[in-house]
Each structure stands twice: as C-alpha cells, then as structure tokens.
C-alpha cells in the first residue's frame, strides 16, 4: 500500500474509526515511514490546537423573538394531516360574533337616531334583531355544551393532558365570547345573566386547569351538576 492510501487512514486513526485490520496495516507502515509519522503528529497537533482554543460562551438569543418569527412563519401553512387548513371550531363562532358586533356598531352609529340611552350607551342587544341575538347565543351554547357535558359525565376519568390542553385553549376563546354576550344581553335578561355568570366561572376554571391530578375537574363536575348548568342551557335553547 502506498503512502497516499495511508493518508486517509491517518485521519481515521486519530478519530478511532479504523478497523483492527486497517489499524495493524497502518502501524506496520508507520514503523517504516518517517514522512507518514510526521504527518500523523502534525495532524494530531493541529486538531489539539483547535481543541485548546477557547470557543467562548454560546450567546443567549432572544427566545421570544425567535418564537414569534416561527409562529409567524407557520401561519399561512398551519395544517392538520389530510391537507386541510387547521381552523379551530371556536374560531368560526368568534368570527361570526365579531361580524355581528361590527354590524351592530354600524347600525347604531349610522342608522339609529342619536341621543342618550338610559345608561349612557346603547346595548348591542337593543339594536340587533331578537333573531340575531338568539342565533349568536345559540351558537355560543352549542360550543360550550359539549365541553361541559364531558366534565359533568366523566370528571377527569378519560382525560389525558392533551385533552386538558385542548380544553384550556377552547375555554380561553369561549370566555371571550361569553364576556361579549354577557355585556350585550345581561341587562335585558337577569336569568340569562346568571347563566352566563356561571359559565364565566366554569370556563375560567377550565382555562386554568394544569394537570389531570388536580382537583379541579371533579370540583367542576359538582358545580355544573349542582347549578344545573346543562339543563339551564338546554332550557334556554328551547325558548
């Protein structure tokens, strides 16, 4: 074997990547070849110098900025398996509600006669048609009811951490809806205000559940059943 073939083996030897057979051949060659021995030593020395040079501390990047960039980079392409764009269910309800409110503001500002309302500002429910209000509230209850039913039936029995994580996100979105509806409708209907208050409490608890060992799920089950929240929702739906 020529020196040229051994050059490659010298480097593999330094990284302990030679087979036993190749190592024997290399060392037998090194015993006879001064030039290869010198090359082995100079390579070892160069790599050693590289190791001894202090690399300095790894800087700490702005993790939050990086996350924001990643999140923004994902936005147009966030998809679920199967190729459909991922849109959470509550987003449709929230978007519908937002359109309804903007419409309400427009109606109030441009088409209704101006003048002070009894409490200084007109409630949206005063402006929108009863059918529109009924629709918004119905959709809200449709979103809330399945989640509450699950807690009412099972407590935490069948829930994994992933479920809790999904529930937390859904509850946060539903809380916003609930708050908007409460502001819009509470003044007109005290019973409804009471129901929306209970929902507000329950959704806040769900939005803050941290793990399945916590006592919250069973406490929630008690609240939902004791306050008859589900039957009140279903009763309201029939109106």
């Amino acid at each position: 074997m020529t020196c040229r073939r051994f050059k490659r083996h010298l480097i593999l030897e330094l990284y302990d990547e030679l087979s036993a057979k190749d190592r024997r051949k290399l060392h037998s060659h090194l015993d006879r070849c001064v030039s290869c021995r010198e090359e082995l030593e100079s390579t070892r020395e160069a790599l050693g110098r590289l190791d001894r040079a202090p690399s300095g501390p790894v800087p700490e990047p702005d993790w939050e900025r990086s996350w924001r960039a990643i999140d923004a980079g994902l936005e147009p392409a966030r998809r679920v398996p199967g190729g459909k764009v991922f849109v959470p269910r509550w987003a449709y309800a929230a978007a519908g509600l937002a359109v309804l409110f903007i419409l309400g503001i427009a109606v109030g500002r441009y088409w209704l006669p101006s003048g002070p309302s009894p409490n200084g500002r007109a409630a949206v429910a005063d402006i929108l048609s009863p059918a529109a209000v009924q629709g918004a509230l119905g959709r809200h209850f449709d979103d809330v009811e399945p989640m509450l039913a699950a807690y009412s039936n099972n407590g935490s029995a069948d829930k994994s951490e992933a479920h809790f994580m999904n529930d937390r996100e859904a509850a946060q979105a539903l809380l916003v809806q609930n708050l908007l509806l409460k502001r819009a409708l509470a003044r007109k209907d005290p019973k409804l205000a009471d129901l929306l208050d209970d929902l507000s409490f329950i959704l806040t608890e769900i939005a803050n559940i941290r793990n399945q060992n916590a006592e919250t799920p069973s406490a929630l089950k008690n609240v939902i059943n004791r306050r008859q929240v589900l039957s009140r929702i279903r009763r309201w739906d029939k109106i």
Binding site: T43, A46, L50, P61, I70, L74, E161, A162
Partner: protein, 188 residues
Amino acid sequence: MDETILIQAAQAGNKAALRELFEQNRRRIFGLAYQYTKNAEDAEDILQETFIKAFRSLASYRIEREGGFGAWLFRIGVNASIDYLRRHKARRAEAGEEALSTVPAQGSDVDPEETRRLNEWRERIRTSLDSLSAKQRMVFLLRHENQFSIREIAHELRCTEGSVKTHLFRAVAALRVQLRPTTVEDRS
C-alpha cells in the same frame, strides 16, 4: 408530558404543544447552529428555519420511524445549517463579517497580549473553517466537536460512510494546512 401526546397535539395544530416542543429543543438546535456558524445572528436564523421546517412537516413525522422527536429535529437542524451556509457563504465572505466574537479583555489580571493572541488564533480558526465546504464543515463539526461516529454522521446526512470519510479527510487536511504554526509563539 409524554412526548407522544405532545406530538399528537402538535400534529393537530395545537399551538401550546408546538410552543412546548420549541421550549424543549431550542437550546440544542441553537447550540448546533452556533457551533456551525460561530455567529449568533446566523444561528438564530437557522433556529427559526429549523423549527418552521419541522413544524410544517410534522404531519409526516412518525415516532416509530424517526427515533424520537429530538433526533428528527436535530437532523433537520443539520440540513438547515448546511443549506443556510451554502446560501450565505458568498454574502459573508463579501461582507467580511466577524463571525467569531472576539474575547474582550476583562479585569486587571488579564494580559492584553494574551487576549490579542487568543483573538488572532480564533480568527485563524474562523478563516480555516470558512475555507471548508458547507458539508465538510458539518462533517467535521459532528465528528470532532460532537463526537458523532462516522456511521451516525452518514445517517444524519443521509449519505454513505465512504462519503463521510472523504469529507472528514478533506476537512482535516485543509485545517492542518491552515492551522500550521507560523510563528515561534505558535509553536510554544
């Protein structure tokens, strides 16, 4: 939390799960990118590219096939680093960027002469590494600094062991020439 559950949630588009995966793996990926580029800004770009690529292809991730999310992500990070350097090498060379941060003299007991020598040496290492191709540089980094075996590197880079050996041989040969002692000081 169990990684399987976390990944399933992330695959379903759950933002909190994606964030958690980022939190768990960000340091390792940034560390790799910084080792590779020796530049914090470039490393941050690579970090972002890696996670965006990974999260976009999460649907195709199979736990049983990939050997863990961390390993899969690391592989994406390796390839993102190589791609990044290929794209930006020309620009960096043109701009004459200071890739390695210099070591500032701190305190009264630090010898300014020693600091100067250290910075010069680091600059030589940077120049030496810049003389390597993107792939040679990654092979060298994984083998020399991260102690990956040649077989593992071949797996990471999806190439043959022979190809890895060739890259390593060329990288070390180039570095040996570049880092040859040139002064009496260097020999000491």
